[in-house]
């Protein structure tokens, strides 16, 4: 359930504008941040806040790449598979990531830390091959660099007590 503070801040934000629906992406992002993903409950809450039907929210939610309608890990890795990264070695990096994390594309590690997803061109072709982790970009990737990034993320998860 939403805490009163988040509900209050979203309600105020929505009240301040003429067309509430225009905030649908912002509201979905806020609820996703709160729940870890956009749960069915979150879809209903977004709909209520924005005076839309849950179906109307869902048809938008399912359209977008960065709205997750299923549980995802603490770190969502989006590996760019578009043409420049592909030419720069995407396939072997993807295989390396899969082996390293023990999952396939679209899956989440058993410890709930990592979700691995492909993504279309992220606009970092000057630093290909590239990927995003929770929307932070990592470019000029090599297997060694990926190992380093994954190790660092694991460390910071452990430090925050996960």
């Amino acid at each position: 359930m939403l805490d009163e503070e988040l509900r209050g801040s979203l309600t105020r934000k929505i009240a301040g504008i003429e067309h509430p629906r225009e905030l649908v992406v912002d509201v979905m992002f806020a609820l996703q941040e709160h729940y870890g993903y956009l749960s069915d409950e979150a879809v209903r809450e977004a709909a209520e806040l924005l005076d839309m039907s849950p179906l109307e929210v869902d048809e938008i939610a399912t359209f977008y790449t960065f709205v997750y309608r299923e549980p995802v890990g603490k770190y969502v890795i989006h590996v760019c598979d578009s043409v420049i990264c592909w030419m720069g070695g995407y396939e072997s990096l993807r295989d390396h990531l899969c082996r390293k994390l023990g999952i396939r594309l679209g899956e989440t590690t058993a410890d709930g830390l990592f979700t691995l997803l492909p993504v279309c061109c992220i606009g970092y072709c000057d630093r290909a091959p590239a990927m995003l982790v929770n929307r932070q970009v990592y470019g000029c990737l090599t297997p060694a660099k990926i190992d380093e990034i994954v190790a660092k993320l694991k460390d910071s998860a452990h430090m925050s007590g996960e």
Partner: protein, 424 residues
């Protein structure tokens, strides 16, 4: 290699940080706005931009002045001016670099375009992968507001404008303006077929002008230096201004280069982007993103301008030059591009939704050695069908396929005859 060409959009670009408001001002920033607020009418601004031959940099190359003029004088209010920073064309990263280089140049351009259309509400629509850029823009908009460049009664002119940053949640089609309109209004972002055009009935039925990031960044310079100066920046008679070319793929120095429109392709690749890596030979490039057609070596000397490419049946698109070398299989590259389009299609209309997976399947079979002679005419026919799709997405999507069949049919044939990819 530092460029010897005039740097207009990148004049304040720094290796590691953005240009501050103060630095932008020192370089002449916000002088155009001050001047316009004192001496210009919206019509004057429209006309100057029209005279400058400024064509939209987002890929469609529509004349910017004409778009501003399309908002009728007696059109209703509020009117909207939208900066399209949903840069999702594969290979394109100029907007990101420009926002990180000089955000106030874009903000000033947006205010001037807003003034020309008498828009009171400004929106910057930005893709989620550019969260850092979105934060920079939000911060700098606040700074511009505190300096009196935004808000009520800008510089005593009576004109008022507010700008908000609208974050998208990521989908290629949102870069298409009618889809972007739906996205902004909180609807599923399927495109719509005009008329009515957004300049007549856009957001919430009000006139709305969409402009790309670097189109807007050109406007302060057009106002400051005049249309003739701007036209003179281009090396061709039909061009206007410089162009940020983003070069990627098989080159030594991938990156953004601000060069005159009309600079030869060879020069962009060999001089500015440092040529191909040792052992690589130029085979082809896409001149302006994924939805343009491959250029083969025979076009190596072509002047990279909207008109010169149009004349030979090509498009400059976003000016994103993606270079492929002789060791890269173009069937596999085209397959990758089609995978992108098949995934990003909004699925609204049948030719796009059904046609792209069909083409993908044919290309995949050819790449995997299961191709047959008749697949080539099938690819040609299916590519033609995609021209009858609802919006420009599908004709763009088949551009690499058309380029492949026009210039590299031999390579496709080899796959079919050898029953394998000859480059594997």
């Amino acid at each position: 290699m530092p460029s010897n060409y005039p740097q207009v959009l990148f004049q304040n670009r720094k290796p590691d940080r953005i240009t501050t408001l103060e630095e932008y001002r020192q370089s002449g920033g916000y002088r155009a706005l001050a001047d316009v607020c004192k001496h210009w009418s919206p019509k004057d601004v429209q006309q100057e931009i029209m005279n400058a031959n400024l064509l939209g940099r987002g890929g469609a190359a529509f004349p910017t002045g004409m778009k501003l003029m399309a908002v009728a004088e007696d059109a209703p209010y509020p009117r909207y001016i939208v900066c399209n920073a949903d840069e999702m064309e594969p290979g394109t990263f100029k907007d990101r670099v420009l926002i990180h280089a000089d955000p106030h140049m874009i903000i000033e351009g947006l205010i001037l375009a807003g003034f020309a259309a008498r828009a009171e509400e400004g929106i910057i629509f930005i893709r989620p992968e550019y969260e850092n850029a979105a934060r920079i823009l939000e911060r700098e908009i606040k700074i511009a507001r505190e300096a009196g460049y935004l808000g009520q009664n800008i510089l005593g002119n009576g004109y008022s404008l507010e700008i908000v940053v609208h974050r998208s949640a990521g989908r290629y089609i949102c870069g298409e303006v009618t889809a972007q309109m739906n996205a902004l209004m909180g609807k599923r972002p399927n495109p719509k077929v005009p008329p009515p055009y957004p300049t007549e009935k856009g957001l919430w039925g009000r006139p709305t002008v969409f402009q790309n990031v670097d189109t807007l960044a050109c406007i302060p310079h057009v106002i400051n230096n005049g249309a003739e100066w701007f036209k003179g920046l281009a090396r061709t008679a039909t061009g206007g201004g410089t162009k940020i070319f983003c070069v990627s793929g098989k080159v030594n120095r991938p990156g953004c280069y601000e060069l005159p429109l009309g600079v030869p392709l060879r020069e962009i690749i060999e001089e500015h982007a440092g040529g191909l890596p040792p052992g690589s030979e130029f085979k082809a490039c896409l001149p302006g993103g994924a939805s343009t057609r491959f250029l083969s070596k025979e076009f190596y000397e072509i002047e990279m301008d909207f008109e010169s490419l149009r004349k030979v049946g090509h498009r400059l698109g976003t000016g994103a030059v993606m270079v492929f070398d002789h060791k890269t299989c173009l069937v596999a590259a085209t397959l990758n591009l089609i995978e992108f389009f098949a995934r990003e299609s909004c699925g609204w209309c049948t030719p796009c939704r059904e046609g792209l997976p069909y083409i993908r399947d044919l290309l995949r079979r050819i790449e995997e050695g299961e191709g047959r002679e008749e697949f080539i005419p099938m690819l040609e026919r299916m590519s033609k069908h995609l021209w009858s799709a609802y919006c420009a997405f599908a004709p763009g999507a088949v551009s690499p396929v058309e380029g492949l069949l026009t210039y590299f049919e031999d390579e496709v044939q080899e796959h079919i005859v050898q029953r394998k990819c000859p480059l594997k």
